[in-house]
Every structure is written in structure tokens, then in C-alpha cells.
């Protein structure tokens, strides 16, 4: 066939690499194998055989390019003629649609037209190019070795070992200042201290998230779940750490019928009249555990399906979380508002390496049996 030979040697002849034979390893040698029958005869296309079909393909290519031009013009027209009226979502949608489709036409016109040209009108004869081993030619490999040897000799890199070794040492140390520089990515405060406690303090009132309205015990009806923040949080500005504090202090408040509420010894005083408060931050990786199912008193984390039983100190009944949600001890103040007795007795949220160092001595852990009992 008219396959053109592309094997023009890049290296001067005489540098052939055919001497290199690589081990075939575990490959089976086939003495009796078939031989490649070689390129099949070229099959002409319709456009090669019929001039009128060739002319038609040419017209089609031109047609696509003209459509592309039309698309470009339409895009500019759409930009001006379909403006966005502020606040009008329909106009946003229309602008997006007409501008987008026009640009798509402009691009696809070029793409389809040129593809048609390539497939129907450009030469379809296959070209054969020889491969060579990827490795460099023997002379260039020898020259490379020689260059490194020269470099070594001329610099004395191997000979002057003290120079070399101190250089390696210096280069090994030089990134260290860069590592230290990253310390101030975060404030000076200790990382573990920063997440060990929340802003809940004794007597702090519970407030609705996000309105900040206070909550009386009587307001908490059975079956409803209240999303709660500390009262002072509502006063903190968004630029003064509002979200940071909320990510620690967010609480879910639920009233469980007294006959359904199991309380372990030591935690009886942590609830008020069947009302219990738990950290809303999952002990798995810290998503908000926001889905409450009132029939079963289960709290479900929508991220990874960890499920906690509110009537049993929020112990884990399913999912990848290990620990129960930390309980916020609550009571009511003189005016009947729900208040925290104190901060959580253990760090909230996802487990971290140093977590146990910050479990309060007054923390009442659930026994292994109570936490391990899975549905």
C-alpha cells in the first residue's frame, strides 16, 4: 500500500539497537505461531469513489462552519437581547439557556464540521511508523555514562566525601524552617485545649437555634426535637466566632416519656422531667445529628447513618460511631427556663487522639454493656 515509511532514523545509521535482546520471562515461546498477514488492502470511501458525494461532503463541512458562525453571532445577540433582570429568576434561566446553546452551537459547528472534513475528505491511507526500543542508542548511553563520570571527576563529588556529605546534610536541613513556618497557620492556643470545651457554663439558659428564644420546660412537648444553642451565642456576631462556637455547643433537646427513659446511676439528675439534652455533633466524624424519629426516640446522623437511642443516654444502636452523644446536664432556673448545669463532661464531636485527657472527673461513663448493646 502507499504506507509511507516513517522509520527515518533519528540517530546516524550504525547506531542500531538491534543487539539488545530482552528476557521474555515467563512468556511462552511459540515456535509454531501464525504470522501477521500484513495490512489489508485499503478500502476506499464513498467520497473517494463518487465525486458528487465528495462535493456533498464538502458542502456539509461548509454548512457546519457557517452554523458555527451563526452560533457566535447568536451568542452576542443573546447576551444583549436576553439580559438578566435583577431578582427575576426566569430571566437568569433564559440568559443561561440562550447564551449557552448559542455558544454550544458555535463550538459544535467547528468540531463536527472539522471532524466530517477529516473523516470524509482527508486521506484515509494508514501510515506505518517503525518503533524503536525506548532506551537511548548505545553511543548515547555510553556518552551519558561518560558525562556523569566527567562530572564526578571534574567536581570531585565522590573523591571529596566531606564536601559531599556536608552538602547532603545541609540540603536535608534546609526545609526544616519551612515546616516551622506553618505553625502560625493556627492561633497560639493549644489545639487540644481549643476543642476540649464548649461555651456552656452553669446556669446558662438554653435558647432556640437560631432565633435565640428562651425555652421553658413546659414548652418542650413530647415527640418534638428542639435545636438549641446557648443563650449568649445568639448575641455573638458572625465575624466574632459565631459558627465556631456553634459547632461545639449545638444541642438537641428532646422530651422522652418517663416510662421510656432509662437513666444510669449518677446521671439521674442530668435530665429535667424527662427532658434530655445531647450534643448535636456526631461522635463519628462530626456531622450534625439532626434527624429525630419520635416513635423510637432514635437520632439519626444523615451523613453516615450512625443511630443513637435518646431514651438510653444516646447510646449507639447502629452505624460507624462508637461513643454515645455527650449529654448536657440540664435543669430549670427560678423563672422556669431550661438552663445548663455545667459544660459537657467530655469533649464533643469526633474522637481525637488526646480526647481522654479532657474527660471531666465528674463524667459518668456508660458501662461497656450499655454502649455495646447494638440493635
Amino acid at each position: 500500500m502507499s504506507a509511507e515509511d516513517q522509520s527515518a532514523p533519528r540517530e546516524p545509521s550504525g547506531h542500531q539497537q538491534s543487539v539488545v535482546v530482552h528476557d521474555r520471562g515467563a512468556a511462552i515461546e511459540q515456535s509454531d505461531a501464525f504470522e501477521n498477514p500484513g495490512l489489508p488492502p485499503h478500502r476506499p470511501r464513498q467520497t473517494d469513489l463518487h465525486p458528487h458525494k465528495e462535493r456533498r461532503a464538502e458542502r456539509q463541512v461548509v454548512g457546519w462552519f457557517l452554523l458555527s458562525m451563526l452560533g457566535s453571532v447568536l451568542a452576542i445577540v443573546a447576551y444583549i437581547a436576553v439580559p438578566i433582570e435583577l431578582g427575576n429568576m426566569a430571566s437568569v434561566r433564559a440568559n443561561n439557556l440562550f447564551l449557552g446553546l448559542s455558544i454550544a452551537l458555535a463550538l459544535l459547528g467547528i468540531g463536527i464540521g472539522a471532524m466530517h472534513w477529516a473523516r470524509q475528505l482527508m486521506s484515509s491511507h494508514e501510515v506505518v511508523e517503525e518503533r524503536h526500543l525506548t532506551r537511548g542508542s548505545e553511543p548515547s548511553r555510553a556518552r551519558a555514562v561518560e558525562i556523569f563520570q566527567l562530572g564526578d571527576e571534574e567536581s570531585g563529588f565522590s573523591r571529596r566525601s566531606l564536601i559531599r556529605n556536608t552538602l547532603i546534610g545541609a540540603i536535608a536541613l534546609v526545609p526544616l524552617p519551612a515546616v516551622v513556618l506553618f505553625r502560625d497557620l493556627a492561633p497560639a492556643q493549644d489545639a487540644v485545649e481549643a476543642i476540649a470545651h464548649t461555651m456552656w457554663r452553669p446556669g446558662m439558659r438554653l435558647a432556640l437555634d437560631p432565633s435565640g428564644a428562651l425555652i421553658r420546660a413546659a414548652d418542650v412537648t413530647q415527640g418534638s426535637a428542639f435545636h438549641v444553642i446557648p443563650e449568649p451565642l445568639a448575641e455573638i456576631g458572625h465575624n466574632e466566632g459565631y459558627l465556631d462556637q456553634k459547632a461545639l455547643a449545638a444541642v438537641l433537646l428532646v422530651r422522652v416519656p418517663p416510662e421510656r427513659l432509662n437513666e444510669v446511676p449518677g446521671r439521674e439528675g442530668w435530665s429535667y422531667d424527662g427532658i434530655v439534652a445531647y450534643s448535636k455533633i456526631c461522635t463519628h466524624v462530626g456531622c450534625p445529628v439532626a434527624l429525630y424519629e419520635q416513635q423510637t426516640h432514635h437520632l439519626l446522623c444523615p451523613c453516615h447513618q450512625s443511630t443513637f437511642d435518646v431514651s438510653n443516654h444516646a447510646k449507639v444502636v447502629f452505624g460507624p460511631a462508637k461513643r454515645p452523644l455527650p449529654q448536657l446536664p440540664i435543669t430549670v432556673d427560678d423563672e422556669g427556663y431550661l438552663v445548663a448545669q455545667r459544660d459537657f463532661t467530655e469533649p464533643i464531636g469526633a474522637s481525637f487522639f488526646e480526647r481522654l485527657q479532657h474527660v471531666d472527673p465528674e463524667h459518668v461513663p456508660l458501662s461497656a454493656a450499655e454502649t455495646e448493646n447494638r440493635a
Partner: protein, 528 residues
């Protein structure tokens, strides 16, 4: 001394001007007629490149309007439902560029769709290379370069997804924060430094922005450069076909055919992405509201390519241990280890297979997957493993859509992850071997022509017809490997590595169908 043709055209003069200053004719003569083989699956890599160009173009437009700041402001833009809401400048500027800027929403959507296509095409391209053995010598290093690009693409995707600072992206970051904290010894501090204090802080968006638009794209461009240079040096693989051997490349020359096809394909990919961006909504961040650590809606989903990591978290057992007053979160470490192990295995697979075969020759023929049954089965098992983790990221949606119990869905997926991987491996291996047997059958006895004849005795037979030499070459042209025996080395010792290699080569090559030989065909002819 230079010689130029007298009275040359403008093009000739310009070319001469350029060549005398750049020596560009050397490059044109070396590469201008370089040959690229043609196969639809070779276009997958091109889609990656072209969608990346679309990402760069649309992303640059977005940076002109996006404000990477977590400073809180009261929204006073044109999207009425969020008027008066406290939100970060990042979220507000995302709303503004979507609703106030003509073409802004289009560019955002094309950017996101391009990113999704980018990652999807990388996945398919990797599968093509894996299943055809195109990672074998001399392309092992380019496989690793490509794999690093895959990881970079995931990092680009995740950092980009996090920038608008909406409820979903913030939740994604909350999960990252929790995972980082689960790392022993340094986790708490890494999280603290990453977020510039406690989560969410007000530093993460500008930091991710710098990674997303500067560091990561620079790395992606650099690695794409290396990837393409190595592809040119190694030349492209081709499927075995008449005239196509291990020692040549048959296909279209760059000038003009390949350049025309590749160039037009860029416009088709880009045009397709713009068409999708103008007709299909992607990630309507205005529906979710600004980030707040308290609310979250049911059915939250990460972008699909992060799904496998989220799914791994969902399927992990709830284990933690407390040793010497320190907490080890196995429910986080185990999925990280499984994903890390999976990634390392994929990344180093070419070296593992190369060690088993010890085949030092260069391989330029893309294998048909059936002709390497064990590798194909490993690949299929890997796909299954990945797919189950991916499906697990939607375990809650599977439960709600099909009215199932989410606990049972999780248990079923856990079982599918482990048992299914083994079953898929086995089925694929047997299927590949069966297909090889079918190829052999066709070579020996011809293919079923569909032509039924009635013999004089009343018997019906189907006429089998033989393939011609061109048609049958595809079925004959492959190589097979035999298991290696345990043999003592030069010191007369049998090392554990020798035993391991022998065992692995038995696992790979014990069940095999060797390519058909002339004598077998001859024998079958005489038999008839």
C-alpha cells in the same frame, strides 16, 4: 550561510523567519508525521485533556467574580429567598456571579460539568489502560504519572466543591475535619492548622482557593506535560490487527489527519459541555443556604467521585479503642487504610505484574482483556469493590427510594463488598477463559453462518464458515505465560521471594488458554 528560495510566499517567509530564530523545522520534521493509532477507546484520554482545557477557561472566568473570603456579610443580592441572611462573602459572591452576571451561571455550570467529565474520563481511561495491559514495559512510569493525575483530579474536585461555602460543602469539610482528627498523634493538630483554629474558622475557604486555582492546577499541568511527553516517547499502543505489530505503529499522521480529528474533537467535547451547562442544573447552591454547623438535610450526597471514600466511612464498623489514655478511632483509620491500600495496589500494579512475569521486553500491543483472564478478573473485582463503596455513599437514598431498612441496606452492602468482590473475580476469570475457548472454537471449526442445510438423510446441520486470514488474526495474536517453577538461585537457596513469585505466577497463569498454532489448525482440518 543560509539559502532561501527566491520570491517566496508570505507563509514561506514567515516560516523561515520563525525557523531561523527557533529551529522549529526540527520539531516539525520529527513530529509532524508521527503516527497515532485509531480506536474509540484511545479517545478517552483526549476527553480528559479537552475537559481540562474547558475547566481552565471557565475557571479563570469564575475567579474574576468569586471572592474567596469567609468574612460574614448580610446578603443583599438579587436572590430573594436569602435576603438578609448572614453568610460568608464566598457564598454571597457565588450567588452574585450566578444571578447577576450574564453568563456567570453558565460558566459555573460548565465548570462543574467539565470537572465531573474530567474525573469520569480519567476513570475510564485508567480502566482502558489497565484492561489492555497498556501499562506494561515501557509504560509503567507513565501509569504512575497518570495515577498521580487521578489523585490530583480528586483533590481539585474536592477543593472546588468546598469553595462556595454552602451547607453541603461545609458539611463535607466537617467530615474531613472529623477524619483528620481521627489520625493518631498528629490529627488534632493537622485539623487545627488546616482550619486556622477550631472548625470551621474563617481561613479554610481562602486556603483551599489558593490550592484550587494555583498549586493543584500547576501540578496537574506539569504532570499532564510529563504524561504526554512520555506518550510521545513511548508511542501509543495499538490493538493487534493485520499489519499492526509490536514493532510498528499504524494509524493517522499528526499532519493533517490526527491533528484535524483531535482538534475537532476538542470543539465537540467543549461544545457538548456548554450544551449540558446551558440545559442541566448542577449543584444549585442557593437551595442549600450558607454553611451553618447545626442544620443538615437528609440525603446529603458528595460529588460522585468522592462517594467511594464516604461509602467506606459508612460501611466501617464502629470500633474505637482506648489504650494508655489515648484514643484510636478504627472507625476512621480502617476505611482510610482500606482506601490507601486500594490506591497503592492500583498505583503499583504494573510493577507487581512485571515482577511475576519478569518479562523484560517492550509491549506495544494492547491486549484483549479476555487474553489475560487473571488481570481482567482482578480489574473487574476492583471495579466491583469501588462500585460498592460508591453505592454505599447513597445507602440512605437507596433505602428511601426502595422502601428498605437503612440498617439492612448497610449490612447487605458490607456483605457485597467482601463476598461480591470474590464472586466477581471468579465469574470474570471464568468468562474470560470461556471467551478464549470460543475464539479457539471459531478458529478450529469456523463460525456459525446461520445457514441451515438439510442433508439427504433428513438431518439438519448448520454450515460453519472459516474466517479469512485478516479476520482471524485478531483471535490468534496474543501471548501467553506459564507459571514459573521454584528454582534455587545462584547460591543454591530458594528464597521466600522465589516461593511467592512462583505461587503468584501459578495464581495468574495456571488456568490459561494458549494461542492457537498452525499444527493445531492443520490437525483439525485433517480431522474433518
Amino acid at each position: 550561510m543560509t539559502t532561501t528560495a527566491p520570491r517566496s510566499s508570505f507563509t514561506a517567509q514567515a516560516s523561515n523567519y520563525l525557523d531561523e530564530r527557533t529551529s522549529i523545522s526540527t520539531m516539525v520534521s520529527a513530529l509532524g508525521r508521527k503516527v497515532f493509532p485509531d480506536h474509540w477507546s484511545f479517545m478517552l484520554g483526549e476527553i480528559i485533556l479537552y475537559s481540562f482545557v474547558a475547566i481552565l477557561l471557565t475557571g479563570t472566568f469564575l475567579t474574576f467574580f468569586f471572592e474567596p473570603s469567609m468574612t460574614a456579610i448580610e446578603y443583599d443580592g438579587s436572590y430573594v429567598p436569602l435576603k438578609g441572611v448572614e453568610m460568608s462573602a464566598a457564598y454571597a459572591s457565588t450567588l452574585d456571579l450566578s444571578f447577576d452576571i450574564r453568563g456567570g451561571l453558565l460558566m459555573r455550570q460548565v465548570h462543574h460539568w467539565s470537572a465531573l467529565l474530567f474525573v469520569a474520563a480519567i476513570g475510564l481511561h485508567m480502566l482502558r489502560v489497565f484492561f489492555t495491559g497498556a501499562f506494561r514495559k515501557p509504560r509503567e512510569i507513565n501509569w504512575v504519572v497518570g495515577f498521580i493525575l487521578f489523585i490530583l483530579a480528586l483533590a481539585e474536585g474536592f477543593t472546588g466543591y468546598s469553595l462556595p461555602d454552602d451547607l453541603l460543602s461545609g458539611n463535607g469539610l466537617a467530615i474531613i475535619n472529623g477524619m483528620v482528627k481521627g489520625i493518631p498523634v498528629v490529627g488534632t493538630w493537622i485539623s487545627y492548622l488546616l482550619f486556622g483554629g477550631i472548625f470551621p474558622g474563617d481561613d479554610i475557604v481562602p486556603r483551599l482557593f489558593v490550592l484550587h486555582i494555583m498549586l493543584l492546577p500547576a501540578l496537574v499541568i506539569a504532570f499532564i506535560g510529563v504524561h504526554l511527553v512520555l506518550m510521545v516517547v513511548n508511542k501509543h499502543t495499538q490493538f493487534a490487527a493485520p499489519g499492526k505489530t509490536n514493532d510498528n505503529v499504524v494509524g493517522a499522521p499528526i499532519m493533517p489527519l490526527f491533528a484535524a480529528k483531535a482538534g475537532s474533537f476538542f470543539f465537540i467535547v467543549f461544545g457538548f459541555l456548554v450544551a449540558i451547562g446551558s440545559t442541566f442544573t448542577i449543584l444549585p447552591v442557593w437551595d442549600f443556604g450558607p454553611y451553618d454547623p447545626s442544620p443538615v438535610s437528609a440525603g446529603t450526597q458528595p460529588d460522585w467521585y468522592i462517594g467511594f471514600a464516604d461509602g467506606a466511612l459508612r460501611l466501617a464498623p464502629g470500633w474505637e479503642s482506648e489504650i494508655f489514655g489515648l484514643t484510636l478511632s478504627w472507625n476512621i483509620l480502617l476505611p482510610i487504610a482500606v482506601l490507601g491500600g486500594f490506591i497503592v495496589l492500583v498505583m503499583f500494579y504494573p510493577f507487581i505484574e512485571g515482577w511475576i512475569t519478569k518479562d523484560q521486553r517492550e509491549h506495544h500491543i494492547a491486549e484483549r482483556p479476555r487474553n489475560n483472564p487473571t488481570r481482567t478478573a482482578i480489574g473487574a473485582a476492583g471495579i466491583w469493590f469501588y462500585a460498592v463503596l460508591w453505592a454505599a455513599a447513597s445507602s440512605d437514598l437507596i433505602a428511601t427510594h426502595f422502601h428498605l431498612n437503612v440498617f439492612q441496606v448497610t449490612w447487605a452492602l458490607q456483605a457485597a463488598l467482601i463476598l461480591g468482590t470474590v464472586i466477581v473475580y471468579w465469574i470474570t476469570k471464568r468468562t474470560a477463559i470461556a471467551l478464549q475457548k470460543k475464539d479457539r472454537e471459531i478458529l478450529l471449526h469456523g463460525y456459525e453462518s446461520g445457514n441451515i442445510r438439510r442433508l439427504p438423510g433428513g438431518e439438519y446441520v448448520e454450515v460453519h464458515e472459516q474466517l479469512d486470514d485478516y479476520q482471524s488474526w485478531k483471535l490468534k495474536a496474543y501471548e501467553s505465560y506459564a507459571p514459573v517453577m521454584v528454582r534455587p538461585n545462584a547460591n543454591g537457596r530458594i528464597t521466600p521471594a522465589t516461593h511467592l513469585r512462583s505461587a503468584m505466577s501459578r495464581w495468574f497463569f495456571e488456568d490459561r488458554i494458549e494461542p492457537i498454532t498452525r499444527s493445531e489448525i492443520e490437525a483439525s482440518k485433517h480431522h474433518h
